[in-house]
Amino acid sequence: MSAPVTVELNVNGATRTADVEPRTTLLDCLRDEMKLTGAHAGCEHGVCGACTILLDGEPARACLMFAVQADGYRITTVEGLAPAPGELGIVQDAFCETHGMQCGYCTPAMVLTAHALLARNASPTREEIVEAISGNICRCTGYGQIIEAIEVAARRLAVSNAGVEGAP
C-alpha cells in the first residue's frame, strides 16, 4: 500500500478527479471512485473483455491498466452512450431488437466494442464483426444475436447518417 495520488480523468466528456492508490486499476477507479458500474470485472487478467471501455475511441481493458495511466485519454464508458436518460442510442437499441444478450454482464463491453467497430467501419462483414468481438467473451448467447445486433446497428446507422447530418 502506498500513499494515494490524485488522478484527473476525462470520462464521457467531463473531467473527473479521484484520490486512488497508484496500484488502483482503471476499472476499480471507474467503478468504486466514480460510481460508473457499467464496466464489469470478469477475469481481471485481460482475457474476457467484460471491463472494456473506449480509450480515445478504441476498446481497451480497464482491468489491465492503472487509473494513473489513463490520464490524458478520452475515456468512454457505457454510461456515456445513451443520448438522454431513458433513451437508447442506435447500437444499444439494436442489441435490444435482436436480444443480443441474456444476463447482461458482458453487454456494456460488447456495445462499446460494437461502437468502436462501427466508428471505423460503417458496413462491416460478418467476419469483421466476429473478429471485432472476439476479445469479448459472452457465456450466454453463443454470439449469434450479438452479431445480428451489430449488423442491424450498421444498417440503421447508415440510414440515420444518410438522412440527418450529425446523427450518431
Binding site: 470485472a41 436480444h99 447482461g104 454482464y105 458482458c106 467473451i137 457465456r139 444475436q145
Partner: protein
C-alpha cells in the same frame, strides 16, 4: 414453433424487457451494491491437496492498518451448522472453510476482513498456516478402490454413492440379442464459468435481528439454508431478489460464501462483502461440474434395434458431497434418451477425491449421459454397418406412442422425433452434406459429420432426492406468482426469484398479458424480497417457462374468474353466462359489457356492488406444483421431470490434419420445446447452450496435476469459446406441445448444451475414422487430435 395465430403475445416477435437496462449499463449486479460501512473479505487457501492444519498465525495480518478480523475455519465451525448434504452421509461434513484438515488445493482455510479488498488481500498473504501434508487421491477409479486414502477419514471410504438399478429384463434381453458391444467414454471436469464470478453482501442488523443478503445467486431454498446454517429463524434472513445475476447456468449456489459472510457480518455488526476473483471462482468456488467415466454395454439386433443397456457412471465428486451425487440421479429420468430401449441396468457411483467440490451444472448431469448414449448409438451403427441416422430412426420412440413410459419409471409427455430429424435432413439436404464432407476429404482435410438426438427433461422437480436418499421424502416442487391490479387498473406481477439471464420479467408479463388480454409492456414485474415472497424453487431444471409460466397463467385465471363474478353480479346472471376478453366481461346473451375500469372500480371502491362474501381488491395468487410428479419412488422407479424437449444436432466439421483444429462448416439443430413463449429468448438459450457444449467438447477442462494442483487457473488455461470458435448455427423449429402445461410449453434453458458435445465428438470421430482413430474422452483438444493423427499417419505424410 406453434402457430403464432393462436396467441396475441406468446410466441410473437417481442422484445425482451430486461435488455434495456443491460445495454445502458444499468444492470444491478451484486458488485454494484454498496452498503454504508461495508467491509471486504479475502481468503487464505490451502496450497496442499490434503493436509492437517497445525496452526494458523494471524498476528501479522491483524497488525496491518485497516484489517478488522481474521477468522479460521475452526472458529467458524463452532458458530454454524454444517452445510447440507444431499445424501445420507453424516461423516462427510462440510463447513464453509476447512476444519482441522484441508481436502483440496485451494480450499479456504481462513478469512480476512478489512476496510478494502486490497488491504484484505495484502493481509491474507500475511496469515501463516502450518500444515502437515497428507496422502491424497485425485483419480476417480483409484478413489473407488477400498485401499485408497479416504478424503473423509470418518466416512471410512471414498464412496458416497454406489447404487445399482435394474429396470426390466436386462439379462434376458442381453441373452436374446444378436450383438453386444462395450465402450468407455469420459466426460472431463468442466463448468459453466459465468463471466460474473459469485459474490455476496450480507448485512446483520442487531436491532431487528435480521440478516439482509444480496447475492449473485441461483439456488432453491437459499434463504432457508442460510438461516439453518447460521441458526437463525427462517424469517431472520431477507434475501433481496432484485439483484441481476451475471450468468450462472446452474453453478451459482454460493452457500458456503454466504454462511461465511453472514457470520462475519454478525460478528462485526457491519455489512460484509465477498466477491470472488477469477482464480477464487475457478479453484476454490466449489463450482465444477460432473467429472465422469461411463462404461456402457449394449445389446442389439443385426437391424440396429437396441434392446438393452448396462451403464456404469463413475463420478468424481471432489472433496465434499454437496448435491453432486444427485447429478447421477437426474439423468435416470431420460436414461434411454429418445429411444425405445426395453431394459436398463444403471450403476451410479460417486466418489470423493481431493479435487474441488462440484456444483449443479446446466442439465444436472444430463449432458454427459447424453454424450454416452449418443456415442453408444454411433458405435451400434458402425457395428451393424447401418447408417447412423437409420439406426436412430429405427430406435426412436414413435410420435403415436406418447405418453411413453421408460423402464426407469418416467413418462415422456410428448414428442415427434422422426419428424424433427427428417426436417433437419431436409434442411441440410443430406446427400449434399455428405457430398461436401467427401469433397473436403478429397482436398486432404479430415472431415466428418456428427449427429446427436437427445432429450431435455424439463419442469424440474427433485425426484432424484428421495430416489437416492430414502430419508428424503420431498415430492413438492412449486413456483408461485401473484398478480395485483391496483385502484388505477394497472397490473403488477410478483415473481419470487433472482434471474441470471433467463428473462423472467418478460416471461411473466407475456403470459399474464396473454391470459388477461392486456398489453404485456404495461404490466410491471416486481421481485419482492424473500420475506415477502411466496414459495418457489428458483430457475433450475429448465423449469421456469413451465412453472413460472404455469403459475402466472393460473393466477391470471383466478383474476378472470373474479372479474366474471363481479360482472355477472352486476348483470344479474350466472357466472357461466359471461365471457372475459381483453379486460372486459361480456354477457353472452345480451352483449352487455363491463369494461376494465368498471371492474377495477367495483373491486376497489364499490363494496356495495360486490357479490356477497367477496373480498375487495383485485388480486390473485397461484402456488403451482410441478405437473405429473407427486409420488415417492417405488422399486427404484420414479417420475422424474414432467416435460421432455427434443433436439437433433447435425454438424459438419473440417480438421486440418496437421494443426488438429476443428472448423465448423455447418451446424444445424432441430429444436422442439413445445410452445415457445418468447422466440428471442429460446433462440439465445439454444445458441448459448451449443457454445457451452462446444467448449465442453473441444476446450474446457479443470485439469489436475499428479501433485493434486489445479492447473487450469486462468482464462489462458481454461479456454472459453469466443466468437471465432462459435459456428453460425441454423435452427430448424418444430413444436409438439406438452399436454401437461398451460400453454403447451416445455423447457429450453439447457438446450444446445445437452447435445452439442455428443454431436461434435461424433463429427470428429467420423473425420478420423478413416485413420482408424477414435476419441473417447472430452474435451478433444486440438493438440490431442494433431498428435493422434500424426502418430496414425504414415511417416512421409507428416513431413511438411
Amino acid at each position: 414453433m406453434s402457430a403464432p395465430g393462436e396467441f396475441r403475445f406468446v410466441s410473437r416477435d417481442r422484445r425482451v424487457r430486461e435488455d434495456r437496462r443491460f445495454v445502458a449499463g444499468r444492470g444491478r449486479y451484486v458488485a454494484d451494491i454498496e452498503r454504508p460501512g461495508m467491509l471486504h473479505v479475502a481468503l487464505v487457501h490451502s496450497p496442499h491437496p490434503a493436509a492437517r492444519i497445525l496452526s494458523i498465525e494471524s498476528q501479522a495480518a491483524l497488525a496491518l492498518p485497516g484489517v478488522r478480523l481474521v477468522l479460521t475455519g475452526e472458529q467458524l465451525a463452532a458458530a454454524v451448522e454444517p452445510l447440507m448434504n444431499g445424501l445420507d452421509t453424516p461423516h462427510v461434513q462440510r463447513y464453509p472453510m476447512a476444519v482441522g484438515q484441508a481436502r483440496y488445493a485451494g480450499e479456504w482455510v481462513a478469512a480476512v476482513v478489512a476496510d478494502t479488498r486490497a488491504i484484505a488481500e495484502d493481509a491474507a498473504e500475511l496469515v501463516e498456516v502450518a500444515y502437515e501434508p497428507l496422502p491424497f487421491v485425485i483419480d476417480a477409479e483409484e478413489a473407488y478402490t477400498p485401499q485408497s486414502t479416504p478424503v473423509h477419514e470418518k466416512h471410512g471410504s471414498n464412496v458416497l454413492l454406489d447404487r445399482t438399478f435394474v429396470w426390466g429384463e436386462v439379462e434376458e434381453h442381453f441373452a436374446q440379442s444378436d450383438h453386444k458391444l462395450a465402450l468407455r467414454v469420459t466426460w472431463g471436469r468442466n463448468s459453466t464459468v459465468p463471466i460474473e464470478t459469485f459474490g455476496v453482501v450480507a448485512s446483520w442488523d442487531p436491532w431487528s435481528d435480521t440478516l439482509d443478503v444480496w447475492a449473485s445467486i441461483q439456488m432453491p431454498k437459499y434463504a432457508d439454508q442460510i438461516a439453518r446454517a447460521l441458526r437463525l429463524p427462517g424469517n431472520g434472513v431477507r434475501v433481496h431478489y432484485d439483484v441481476d445475476v451475471g450468468g450462472s447456468y446452474g453453478v451459482k449456489r454460493g452457500i458456503k460464501h454466504t454462511v461465511l459472510v453472514g457470520h462475519l457480518s454478525r460478528l462485526l455488526n457491519r455489512p460484509v462483502r465477498l466477491i470472488e476473483d477469477r482464480l477464487e471462482n475457478m479453484r476454490s468456488g466449489d463450482a465444477h461440474g460432473p467429472d465422469r467415466i461411463f462404461d456402457v454395454e449394449v445389446a442389439f439386433n443385426s437391424d440396429g434395434v437396441v434392446n438393452s443397456m448396462k451403464m456404469r457412471a463413475l463420478d468424481n465428486a471432489g472433496a465434499y458431497a454437496g448435491r453432486a451425487p444427485f447429478q447421477l440421479g437426474k439423468p435416470i429420468g431420460a436414461i434411454v434418451g429418445p429411444y425405445r430401449i426395453k431394459s436398463v441396468r444403471y450403476q451410479a457411483v460417486s466418489v470423493t477425491s481431493n479435487k474441488a467440490a462440484q456444483e449443479a451444472v446446466r442439465g444436472f448431469g444430463q449432458a454427459p449421459t447424453n454424450y454416452a448414449i449418443e456415442s453408444m448409438m454411433d458405435r451400434v451403427a458402425a457395428h451393424v454397418g447401418i447408417d447412423r441416422l437409420e439406426v436412430r430412426r429405427r430406435n426412436f420412440i414413435g410420435a403415436d406412442e406418447f405418453p411413453y413410459l421408460i423402464p426407469s419409471g418416467t413418462r415422456y409427455d410428448s414428442g415427434d422425433y422422426h419428424t424433427v430429424m427428417d426436417k433437419v435432413l431436409a434442411h441440410v439436404e443430406w446427400p449434399a452434406l455428405l457430398a461436401e464432407r467427401d469433397r473436403l476429404r478429397a482436398t486432404g482435410m479430415l472431415a466428418g459429420i456428427g449427429v446427436a438426438a437427445c432429450l431435455e427433461p424439463s419442469g424440474g422437480n427433485s425426484s432424484f432426492e428421495p430416489l437416492l436418499n430414502e430419508k428424503n421424502n420431498t415430492t413438492t416442487w412449486m413456483e408461485s406468482v401473484r398478480i395485483n391490479v391496483d385502484a388505477l387498473g394497472t397490473v403488477s406481477v410478483m415473481i419470487h426469484t433472482t434471474s441470471s439471464g433467463q428473462g423472467h420479467e418478460t416471461l411473466a408479463s407475456t403470459v399474464v398479458g396473454e391470459a388477461l388480454g392486456l398489453d404485456p409492456d404495461k404490466i410491471r414485474v416486481v421481485r419482492p424480497d424473500s420475506l415477502a415472497s411466496l414459495p418457489g424453487n428458483s430457475p433450475v431444471g429448465s423449469r421456469m417457462a413451465i412453472m413460472m409460466g404455469g403459475a402466472a397463467h393460473l393466477a391470471a385465471g383466478k383474476l378472470i374468474d373474479k372479474c366474471k363474478a363481479i360482472a355477472a353480479h352486476q348483470f344479474g346472471c350466472a357466472d357461466e353466462a359471461v365471457d372475459y376478453a381483453s379486460g372486459s366481461v361480456i354477457e353472452r346473451a345480451t352483449g352487455r359489457t363491463l369494461a376494465w375500469a368498471d371492474l377495477v372500480g367495483v373491486a376497489h371502491r364499490n363494496h356495495h356492488l360486490l357479490p356477497d362474501g367477496m373480498q375487495p381488491g383485485l388480486e390473485a395468487t397461484h402456488i403451482y406444483q410441478v405437473p405429473n410428479a407427486s409420488e415417492l419412488p417405488v422399486d427404484g422407479r420414479i417420475q422424474m421431470y414432467p416435460c421432455h424437449s427434443f433436439e437433433f444436432h447435425m454438424t459438419l466439421v473440417a480438421i486440418d490434419p496437421i494443426l488438429g483444429k476443428v472448423e465448423f462448416r455447418r451446424y444445424v439443430i432441430g429444436h422442439d420445446c413445445g410452445v415457445v413463449i418468447n422466440p428471442h429468448i429460446v433462440k439465445g438459450m439454444t445458441l448459448g447452450g451449443i457454445a457451452h457444449g462446444i467448449g465442453a467438447a473441444l476446450m474446457e477442462e479443470f485439469v489436475y496435476g499428479e501433485d493434486g494442483q489445479m492447473m487450469s487457473q486462468t482464462f489462458m488455461d481454461y479456454l472459453l469459446p469466443s466468437s471465432h470458435e462459435m459456428p453460425h448455427v441454423e435452427i430448424v423449429h418444430h413444436c409438439t406441445p406438452s399436454p401437461l402445461t398451460v400453454l403447451g410449453q416445455k423447457g429450453s434453458g439447457e438446450s444446445g448444451y445437452l447435445g452439442a458435445p455428443a454431436a461434435v465428438s461424433g463429427a470428429i470421430n467420423d473425420a478420423v475414422a478413416p485413420l482408424g482413430l477414435r476419441f473417447e474422452k472430452l474435451p478433444i483438444r486440438l493438440t490431442k487430435i494433431s498428435d493422434a493423427v500424426a502418430a496414425a499417419s504414415p511417416k512421409q505424410d507428416r513431413t511438411l
